[in-house]
Symmetry: C3
Subunit: 348 residues, 3 copies
């Protein structure tokens, strides 16, 4: 654990039997085995817990020195040392680690003296507000929610129960969060959309009057931006998961359980279905409809609606520059080349 232990410190000591009982797992090995840390298969030492979920790492399992390994029943049959058994070892590991990690991220409860909170703000029980926070008039913060240092809530923001808003976020007027929403540092929620009308002499700003509704259990990555609606709302349904540096334009609607990787941008008024998996660096045009259960590979561009579930892609993988340049020189003329070749065939 080395560095991590020093930095994030203090997992309390568990026994193998205690973990098994707490997470309803069976186990092999000595019930009193002491576990004080989490580590990878590679680096686990004799008091660490790790997991085995990917058959590619079977060799690493053989050399593993961990106190115990989370694995499925099949793997456990061949394993002579201490293990915790689960049909979904990655999920079980995630749940165990969540409980262990709480020790290091638990925030002090209470309201820091340097926070600037309007008089009429409604704070529920067990709210934690860090230093230098600013909360505008009419905001409501639900029970057990925490607001990180330097975060700004404009007037009228509603935050549900048990939300974690990390440091240095901004939530604009018209933003409402459900329960258990998690917002990472630097996120901007409810900014004005990019609405412009040409007057003949220059641009005039189209005022952005809609709200932003983020439903229960959503997660918003660091420095991600989501615009408020122009008239109606921008909406994230429950359990939408957004990575870092994503841009969601005004009036977008994203369905339940959809997960989007970093650096993707979605243009205005597009509707994304449920359970979609969208890779990093994608661009999705405006006013489109993406059906449920669509998967996009990284850096794909979508310019028309996709109505059939399934996987789609469009980006080109790298080649050595000489090959790439030659191919691009052909691609520039592809239509003409194909036409000539077809005529050549005909003439032949």
């Amino acid at each position: 654990m080395g560095w991590i232990e020093m930095a994030i410190a203090t997992l309390r000591s568990w026994t193998l039997a205690e973990i098994a009982a707490r997470f309803d797992l069976s186990f092999q090995g000595e019930a009193q085995t002491t576990i004080t840390g989490i580590a990878t298969l590679n680096n686990a030492s004799e008091h660490d817990l790790t997991f085995f979920a990917n058959p590619l790492y079977r060799e690493k399992l053989r050399d593993c020195r961990a106190a115990a390994v989370v694995m499925n029943a099949d793997a456990a049959r061949d394993y002579a040392q201490a293990c915790l058994i689960s049909a979904q070892p990655y999920l079980a590991f995630a749940r165990i680690a969540t409980v262990c990690a709480q020790h290091s991220t638990a925030q002090a409860s209470g309201i820091h003296a340097s926070a600037v909170i309007a008089e009429d703000v409604q704070l529920s029980a067990d709210v934690s507000i860090a230093a230098q926070v600013v909360i505008g008039s009419g905001c409501e913060i639900g029970a057990g929610s925490s607001i990180g240092a330097g975060t700004v809530l404009e007037p009228g923001v509603i935050v549900g129960d048990h939300c974690t808003i990390m440091a240095r976020c901004w939530l604009g007027a018209g933003t409402r969060l459900g329960d258990r929403v998690r917002v990472h540092p630097g996120a901007v929620l409810g900014s004005d959309g990019f609405g412009l009308a040409w007057s003949g002499h220059g641009w005039e700003k189209v005022p952005q009057l809609g709200g932003l509704l983020i439903s229960d259990d959503c997660e918003i990555g660091a420095n991600t931006t989501i615009d408020r609606g122009s008239i109606d709302n921008t909406v994230l349904e429950a359990d939408v998961r957004l990575d870092n540096q994503i841009q969601i334009a005004h009036n977008v609607h994203i369905g339940e359980h959809t997960a989007i990787a970093a650096c993707t941008g979605i243009a205005g008024s597009t509707r994304i279905g449920q359970r979609c998996l969208i890779g990093g660096g994608c661009g999705i045009g405006g006013h489109l409809h993406i059906a449920d259960d669509i998967e996009l590979t990284g850096m794909s561009m979508v310019t028309r609606s996709l109505t059939q579930a399934g996987a789609y892609g469009s980006a080109i993988p790298v080649e050595p520059v000489r090959t790439w340049r030659r191919n691009m020189a052909r691609l520039r003329n592809l239509d003409r080349l194909i036409r000539e070749l077809m005529n050549g065939n005909k003439h032949a």
Copy 2:
């Protein structure tokens, strides 16, 4: 209005005749019709104003329950209910909504006690400075400008009149804003450019000494970054409009009225013309010259100067993954395949 009304509240009540007089529009219908909100064609209820600008929505207009609809004279001829008539209905709607929306975004004037402002800062009349703002020595803030919570102005920043700098922005030394500039949350203006010199043993930083000049009426989106010049200035001419998460490198010069959609990046020392429309997710190389009136479709890559006005594109739209993979396998070998086919034709 439901949710929005609750969240952003309080459009004051207007009559149809008052709006027509204020915005110099003619109208049909009962002059005393009360309007208290803004809504889409879809959702407008009997006290809302909406607009009709896109013929695709003609059917929605038929079922619309709005108090009044902004539309052009042609449409009004066939419309039996209350309407406001304009040759540019979207623009007229934008102007009306701007006035209505002012009620909800009006910031309290004055200087918050928690702001840290150097002694020699020059504040003009009617300046508003929110909580936790930091303003360095030698800054000047023009009349009627407002600085949002947690924003930092390094020493020597000049802000013109009637600017709106939202919360949590950063303006670096050497940054000067004209009048009526609007900066959205999280924007970083005047950061160091990416200047490196290789010493033979490692990188040495090339100091970034230029300024950043943002002219009148520009708008800068959330979490957008613009670097200061390396020696001369980075410049945005008047009425440049930047969406969220755009990156503008050092020494870039952008012409009047150019609008750029989200997630686009422009490399150093490139010059962009006037009235360009640049789609989202584009990449424009360094040291290029993009002429006036150029349009780029989303996710385009520009690697040479573009001297002719017109529309350009380069990205590939998605296909189902199987088709995409097969096409990419061909594209990898495109030069060779075309050559073989040409030889085949010749030999045939």
Copy 3:
């Protein structure tokens, strides 16, 4: 210098001989020539220093009015006016400008009264902490380091000596910086990675427990985000240089001296070699290995490991929209078209 002089002010006056002595350069011309500013070849006036490194600008050199020009010995032979002579004129210029520029960016030493610093934080000598900073329990700040306004350090962050952390950054628990690290405004270091496990009913968060290790002499651009490791650490080796708005996912490892341009994203657990040069807007997939001395052109996508040093590319440069659309229509069917053409050839 105009605008810049006004904005960033106060380079102190040097003589040509003083600069030559300080930077161990020879010179031509009058030793007592006064230099008070830095400018481009184009704009230099009679008290400015400039440099000549690119033969393309030879004509500009002829008309240059600078007090002195940094150039190599070859160029100096043909140059009748004052110059400083270096085998690496751009590097020499960078070093001179660094010393000159220090006057304008030197931060006041000391700790601002509005900063919120936990009692057990260890501050070394000559630490500068600006207004509204928040520093959590257990942090350590090395000698001569400065923390800009509004920056937040979560508990347990370790900052080395002579680091410059600009305003409005966020450093998460488990983040450790070496010496002389420079972090630009809005950067988020050590955020949670995007770790999700599907439970059958919804996503569960996989806790992110690893650290982030940023080694000596690294530079991190504005609004760039780097995730902490999931179990082990995310690592930047010494002298890694990251531009603005880059996204580095959990467990990524980047080798010494690698430089990455703006808007590039690197997915989880990928290992990048030493001395790589990665263009802007690239996307690099997860769990890959990129060898030493790899160069990627802008907007490239990498989906497999690259084991051979060299330059790679994949993006398509723009064409006029009509040509582009026609070519894309062919590309959609490329596999089928090539197949038909091959059969045509065979039949012919």
